[in-house]
C-alpha cells in the first residue's frame, strides 16, 4: 500500500490546509527573516549614522580649515589691493569660520576656542597691517603682515591637527560600520539559504502529499475511461481525495449499473426482436417519416418484394415495390388509385383495420399509430380462419337443421298423438256421463281408468311439446307483475289432489307481506306444480313443505320432502331430459322424467336457477330462485336511451343532435372504458359504437358487450369510417353505418330497434270473436286498431296506410296468413313491417322456420294467448327480423 509513503499527519488534512500550512510556514519564515534583516539594518544604520556623524565633524573641521584659509587669502589680497571687496570677502570668510567654529564647539570645544582666539588675533593683526598700508605706512604694514603670517601658521597647525584626529575617528567609525555590515550581510545570506532549503523541503513534502493521490486518481480515471475498475484509489474519507475516491467509486458503480442496464436493454431488445420474429403475423414498424424501421421475417415472406428495399425505404417505396413485383390485386382500381388509397389509409391518424385480398386469400391489415407518430403494422393471413369460419357456419347450420328436424318431429308427433287422445278422453268422459245418466255404472270405473290413462298420456305429450318448444327456441316468456300469495294458494289447491294421493301433507310457508314478483306467471306456476308433484311422487305418507322467502333481489321457493332422497350421481343426471334418478324410478313412480328438465329450462328463461340438496333416505330440497323483477330493458315511461361511444367530439355532437331531435335520450362516452361503464349503469336501448378509438377500439368494446350476460341483449350499431360491414355483423352488431352517417338511415335503424312505428295495429282474423278479443286487448294497451277478415282485405288496408303492427291469423279463407305474409315481404314497402302471427295451428318445423324468417313472432291462441301476444308485441315490435331473441346467434 502506498499509504506508508505519505506523511501521515498531512494526509489527514485537506489540500487547502496543506497548501495554506505551507504558505503560512513560508510566510512565517519570510516575516522572521525580514524582522532579522530589519534589526540588522537598523543596527547598521546606527553605525553608518555614527560614521556619518564622524565624517560630518570632519567636514566641519575641514570647513573651518577652508574658511580660515579663505579668510587668510582675502586678508592677504586686501593687504595688496586694499579693495573693500576683498575686505568684505575676508569678513564673509571670517563669519563662516565662526559658524564652523560654533559647530565645532559642540564636539571639540577646546580646539574651537583655541582656533577662535588664534584667528581673532590673526584678523586683528592683518587689519592693522591693512590700515597701515591704506595710510601708506608700508613698513608698519609689512611688519604687521609678517606677524600675521606667523599667527596664521599657528592657526593652521591647530586646525590641521584637529582635522587629522577627526579623520582618523571617521575612518575608524566607517570601517567598524563596514565590518558590522559585512557580518549582517553574511547572516542574512545564511538565513536566506536556510529559508530556501526549508521552503523547498516543505514544498516537496506538501506537493508529494497532493500529487501522489492525484496521480492515483488520474490512473483511476484513465481506468474508468477505459471501462476498467479503478484500482489503487486513495482511501475514501472526508478530505478532497477521499471525496474524489468516493465519487469515482460511485461513478464506476454507475458505469457498471449502466452497462448492466444497457445489457438488459439489449437483451430486452433481442427479446422483442425474437418475439416479433416469432409472431406468426407479418410485422413492420414505420417511423414518423414513414420509413421502415423494423420488419420481421414473416413480413418478408408475405411481401417478398420488400426484401430488396434499401435501408430507410418508406412505405411509399414499399408500395412501389409491391406494384413492381405484381404482388397486388388492384381489382377495378388503377395502380395509382390503389397506391393513393393505401397511402391515405396508412396516414390515417386513427389507424386502420381492414381485410384485404392477398394472393388467393385474405390478409387482415391492422395499423396503429405510436405515440411518436410512427406506425405499427400487423399483417395477418386470415385466409385459413375465414375458411374455417365458413366450415363452422356450415356445421352449425347442419346441426341446427338436425335439431329443428327433431323438434318438428316431436311437435308433429305430439300433435298427431294429442288429437286422437283428446277424442279418447272426450269420448270416455261422454260415455261416463252417459253411463251415470243411464245408471249403467258397471263400466264407469273402466272408463275412468281410460280417462286417467289418457290424461296421463296427455300430460306426457304436453311435457314433450314444451321441451321440444324449448329446444326449438320457441318458448315465449311473458313478464307481468304477479301477487305471490294468491299464486301460491292457487298452486296449493291445484296440487292438493296429487299430494293427497300418497297420504302426504302439504305445508305452505309464505313470508308475510311477500308482495309481488315480475315474472312469467304460467311458467312459475308450472315450475312449482312440477316440483310439488315431483315431491308428492317420491314421498309416502310424508310431509311436503313449500317455503317462499324474499332473498335480496330474488324470490326463493323451497320444496322439501322427506322421501327417498338421491345420491350425488343421481343428482348429476337429475335435470337432463328423459332422465329420472333411476331408470327404474319411472316404473315405480311413473312420470316421463321431463318435469325437472322443464323446470330448469323455465328457471333459466326467467333469469333464475334451480338447485337440489339431497341425500339418499333423507329426502330432498329443491330450491327455485327467480329475480323479483326482470332486468331493466329500457325506461318505458321515458324516451329510449341511446349511448354513443365515439372518441370524435364532432361525431358525438352531430349524432347526439340528430337523436335528441328525434326524441331520444342521448348518452355519450369518449372512450371504450367509460362507454362500457355507462352501458352497464344505464342499460341503454341501443349503443352506437365507433370502431377506431385510441387505447381500446370498437371491436374490443363490441366483444365485451357480447360477452357480458347483461349487456349482450343490448343491440349495437357500428358507426365507423370503416366499411367492414360483414365483420361487424359477424361480431354481433345488428347494423353498420358508414360515416358520414345518413340521418335517415340512422333514425330508421334505431326506430326498427325501438318500435318507433305508429301505434296502429291491423288485426287480421276471420273469427270476429278473436278480432274483438284482440281489439279490446290492444286498445287497452294504447293501440289504434283496424281489422280485416282475410288476407286480401288486409293487403288492401295496408296498401292504404302502413300500420305499425300486423297481427295475423294463419287459417283464413280466400288468402291465408302464409300467403299474406309472403306478399307483404315481397313488397319493398312492407318488407320490414312487423307482423306477429297468432294462431291455434300446431306448426310444422318448416312452417315455424318460415314464419321465423318472415314474422316477428308467432303466438298461440288459447288460454294464455292474450298474455303471450302482449309480451310479443312489447318485446318484438321494431325488431328487424323475426328471429326470436332466445335463438339469435351470438347470444
Amino acid at each position: 500500500m502506498n499509504i506508508a509513503i505519505r506523511p501521515p499527519r498531512l494526509n489527514r488534512h485537506a489540500i487547502p490546509l496543506r497548501v495554506g500550512g505551507l504558505s503560512a510556514m513560508l510566510l512565517g519564515a519570510l516575516v522572521l527573516s525580514s524582522a532579522l534583516m530589519a534589526i540588522e539594518f537598523s543596527a547598521n544604520q546606527r553605525r553608518i549614522a555614527e560614521a556619518t556623524e564622524r565624517f560630518h565633524r570632519l567636514q566641519i573641521a575641514a570647513d573651518a580649515q577652508r574658511e580660515f584659509g579663505s579668510m587668510r587669502y582675502w586678508l592677504t589680497e586686501l593687504a595688496v589691493s586694499l579693495l573693500t571687496l576683498s575686505e568684505r570677502r575676508a569678513q564673509d570668510a571670517r563669519g563662516r569660520l565662526e559658524d564652523s567654529l560654533d559647530e565645532l564647539k559642540t564636539f571639540a570645544p577646546n580646539a574651537a576656542a583655541e582656533i577662535d582666539a588664534a584667528a581673532q588675533t590673526y584678523w586683528q593683526t592683518c587689519i592693522a597691517a591693512v590700515d597701515a598700508y591704506t595710510d601708506d605706512n608700508r613698513v608698519i604694514g609689512n611688519s604687521l603682515m609678517a606677524q600675521a603670517r606667523q599667527r596664521s601658521d599657528g592657526v593652521n597647525v591647530i586646525i590641521a591637527r584637529l582635522v587629522r584626529e577627526l579623520a582618523e575617528e571617521a575612518d575608524r567609525a566607517s570601517s567598524m560600520a563596514s565590518v558590522a555590515s559585512g557580518a549582517a550581510q553574511t547572516r542574512s545570506i545564511i538565513a536566506c539559504i536556510v529559508i530556501v532549503i526549508l521552503g523547498v523541503v516543505l514544498t516537496v513534502v506538501v506537493l508529494r502529499s497532493i500529487l501522489s493521490p492525484l496521480r492515483r486518481i488520474n490512473r483511476a480515471m484513465a481506468a474508468l475511461q477505459e471501462g476498467r475498475a479503478p484500482r489503487d484509489l486513495p482511501p475514501e474519507g472526508s478530505d478532497e481525495f477521499g471525496r474524489i475516491s468516493a465519487t469515482l467509486r460511485i461513478l464506476h458503480e454507475a458505469q457498471r449499473a449502466r452497462a448492466a442496464l444497457e445489457e438488459a436493454a439489449a437483451e430486452q431488445r433481442r427479446t422483442v426482436i425474437t418475439a416479433i420474429e416469432t409472431i406468426p403475423d407479418g410485422f413492420a414498424l414505420f417511423d414518423p417519416a414513414d420509413r421502415i424501421v423494423m420488419r420481421n421475417q414473416r413480413f418478408l415472406e408475405l411481401f417478398p418484394s420488400a426484401r430488396d428495399l434499401p435501408e430507410g425505404a418508406t412505405f411509399a417505396d414499399f408500395l412501389d415495390a409491391q406494384i413492381a413485383a405484381g404482388e397486388v390485386e388492384f381489382f377495378d382500381q388503377t395502380p395509382e388509385d390503389w397506391r393513393e388509397g393505401r397511402l391515405a389509409s396508412h396516414a390515417d391518424p386513427r389507424g386502420m383495420r381492414a381485410q384485404v385480398p392477398w394472393r388467393s386469400g385474405w390478409l387482415l391489415v391492422t395499423k396503429r399509430k405510436t405515440p411518436d407518430g410512427g406506425t405499427v403494422a400487423v399483417y395477418s393471413d386470415i385466409s385459413e380462419m375465414l375458411d374455417r369460419q365458413v366450415d363452422l357456419d356450415a356445421a352449425r347450420r347442419d346441426a341446427e337443421e338436425a335439431n329443428q328436424a327433431k323438434s318438428r318431429f316431436l311437435a308433429s308427433m305430439s300433435h298427431e298423438l294429442r288429437t286422437p287422445l283428446n277424442a279418447i278422453i272426450g269420448y270416455s268422459e261422454m260415455l261416463i256421463e252417459d253411463a251415470i245418466d243411464s245408471g249403467d255404472t258397471g263400466n264407469v270405473l273402466d272408463l275412468e281408468r281410460i280417462v286417467s290413462a289418457g290424461r296421463h298420456l296427455l300430460a306426457l305429450i304436453n311435457d314433450v311439446l314444451d321441451l321440444s318448444k324449448i329446444e326449438a327456441g320457441k318458448m315465449e316468456v311473458y313478464i307481468e307483475r304477479v301477487e305471490l300469495a294468491p299464486l301460491i294458494e292457487d298452486v296449493r289447491l291445484t296440487v292438493a289432489p296429487l299430494v293427497g294421493k300418497n297420504d302426504n301433507t302439504l305445508h305452505v310457508d309464505v313470508e308475510p307481506g311477500i308482495g309481488t314478483i315480475e315474472t312469467d306467471r304460467t311458467k312459475l306456476r308450472q315450475n312449482l306444480f312440477n316440483l310439488l308433484s315431483n315431491a308428492s311422487k317420491f314421498a309416502k305418507s310424508g310431509r311436503i313443505e313449500l317455503i317462499v322467502r324474499r332473498e335480496a333481489h330474488m324470490v326463493r321457493f323451497d320444496v322439501r320432502d322427506d322421501g327417498i332422497g338421491m345420491t350425488e350421481a343421481q343428482i348429476a343426471r337429475l335435470f337432463q331430459p328423459f332422465a329420472q334418478a333411476e331408470s327404474s324410478t319411472s316404473r315405480t313412480y311413473g312420470g316421463t322424467g321431463l318435469g325437472l328438465s322443464i323446470v330448469r329450462h323455465f328457471a333459466d328463461l326467467l333469469g333464475g336457477s334451480v338447485s337440489v340438496v339431497s341425500e339418499p333416505g333423507k329426502g330432498s330440497t329443491f330450491t327455485l330462485r327467480l329475480p323479483a323483477a326482470p332486468r331493466a330493458q329500457q325506461d318505458l315511461d321515458g324516451a329510449p336511451t341511446i349511448l354513443v361511444i365515439d372518441d370524435d367530439k364532432n361525431a358525438q355532437l352531430s349524432l347526439g343532435t340528430v337523436l335528441r331531435r328525434a326524441g331520444y335520450t342521448v348518452l355519450t362516452a369518449g372512450d371504450a372504458e367509460s362507454g362500457l361503464e355507462m352501458a352497464r349503469r344505464h342499460r341503454p336501448s341501443v349503443v352506437l359504437l365507433d370502431i377506431i378509438m385510441p387505447e381500446r377500439d370498437g371491436w374490443s368494446v363490441l366483444r365485451e358487450i357480447k360477452e357480458d350476460t347483461l349487456l349482450c341483449e343490448t343491440p349495437v350499431i357500428l358507426v365507423s369510417v370503416l366499411s367492414d360491414r360483414e365483420m361487424g355483423l359477424a361480431f354481433g352488431a345488428v347494423d353498420h353505418l358508414v360515416k358520414p352517417v345518413d340521418q335517415t338511415r340512422l333514425l330508421e335503424a334505431i326506430e326498427r330497434l325501438n318500435g318507433g312505428r305508429p301505434r296502429e295495429v291491423l288485426v287480421v282474423d276471420d273469427d270476429p270473436a278473436a278480432r274483438g278479443m284482440f281489439r279490446r286487448l290492444l286498445v287497452r294497451e294504447g293501440w289504434e286498431v283496424r281489422e280485416a277478415a282475410d288476407g286480401e282485405r288486409a293487403l288492401a288496408l295496408i296498401d292504404e296506410q302502413i300500420p305499425g303492427l300486423v297481427i295475423l291469423d294463419l287459417m283464413m279463407p280466400n288468402l291465408d296468413g302464409f300467403e299474406t305474409l309472403r306478399r307483404l315481404r315481397a313488397s319493398t314497402r312492407t318488407s320490414e313491417l312487423p307482423v306477429i302471427v297468432a294462431t291455434s295451428k300446431d306448426l310444422s318445423r318448416r312452417e315455424f322456420e318460415w314464419l321465423g324468417r318472415h314474422a316477428r313472432d308467432v303466438v298461440r291462441k288459447g288460454e294464455d294467448g292474450r298474455a303471450d301476444l302482449l309480451a310479443a308485441i312489447e318485446r318484438h315490435v321494431g325488431k328487424r327480423d323475426g328471429i326470436p331473441r332466445e335463438a339469435r346467434p351470438g347470444d
Partner: protein, 264 residues
Amino acid sequence: MKMSLLAGSHREDRALRAVCAAALLAVALLLPQVLSASDSEDASLIETGNRLAALLRAGRNVVSTNQARINQTGVGDKELSAVAFVIEVMHAYETQNGQPALTEEMSPLDEKLVKAQLDSMVEVLDDAQPLINNPDLGFKGFIPAVFARLVNEKFATKVGHLARIKVTAPRNLVRNRSALPDAWETEIINGRLLSPDWPRGQPWYETVEANGRARFRMIIPEYYSRSCLTCHGEPKGEVDATGFPREGGKLGDLGSAISITLSK
C-alpha cells in the same frame, strides 16, 4: 612750466562730465547763499574747492570720453600723450565752466593748487603711457576713478598740507579702501547728503578743528548718471568690466562725493 598731460578713460570721462555738470549747476545755484552765510575768506575757499573739484571732474571726463581709444587693441600709440590730455582737459574745463582753468585773476594759492593738479594729471598720464599704448591688452582699467585717485595721490604729495582732494562715497559704495570716508565725511554723508530732504547737489562746508589746526572742509555730492550705472548699476552683485560686483545703484542715487580739505 612743466605740465604733465594725462589722458582719461572714455567711460569715466562721461560719468565725470555728468557729475561735474551737476556740481556746477549746484554751485551756481547755491553760491549766493554760501556767500551770504560766510565771510569773504570762506567764499574764496569755496571758490578754490569748487575749481579743484571742477578740474578733477574735467580730467575724469576726458578719461571717460577716451575709454574706447585707451582700450583699443591692435594699435600701439593711442596718441593720448600727457600734453594732449591736459589740452583736452583745459578745453573741457573751459567749455564746462565758461572760463579757463588758469586765469590772471587767480590768487597765488589757487594758481599753485591748479597747477599742482594739472601737473599731477601729466604725471599720471606719463606713467600710464606704456599701459595705454599696449596693443595686446583690451580693457586696461584706466578708468576715471583710478585716474582721479592717482591724480589726487600725486596732488597730495605736491601740495602737502595746503590742500587735499579725495573722492569718497558712502562706505558701502567704496571700492578701494583708500577712498573710505573718514569720520567727518561719514558723518556728513550719512547725516546730510543721504538725507531724503537734502537739496540735490548742494555741497556742505565747514571749518573743522584737527590736531589743533582749523581746516576748511567741503564735500560736494555726486549722483549716478546713466554712464555711472554701467559699472555701478543693476543687477546688483553682477561683476562689471573691472571684475567688481555692481552696487545696484539707480539713476540719480548718491554715488560719490568729492571731499576737499583746505588749510585756513
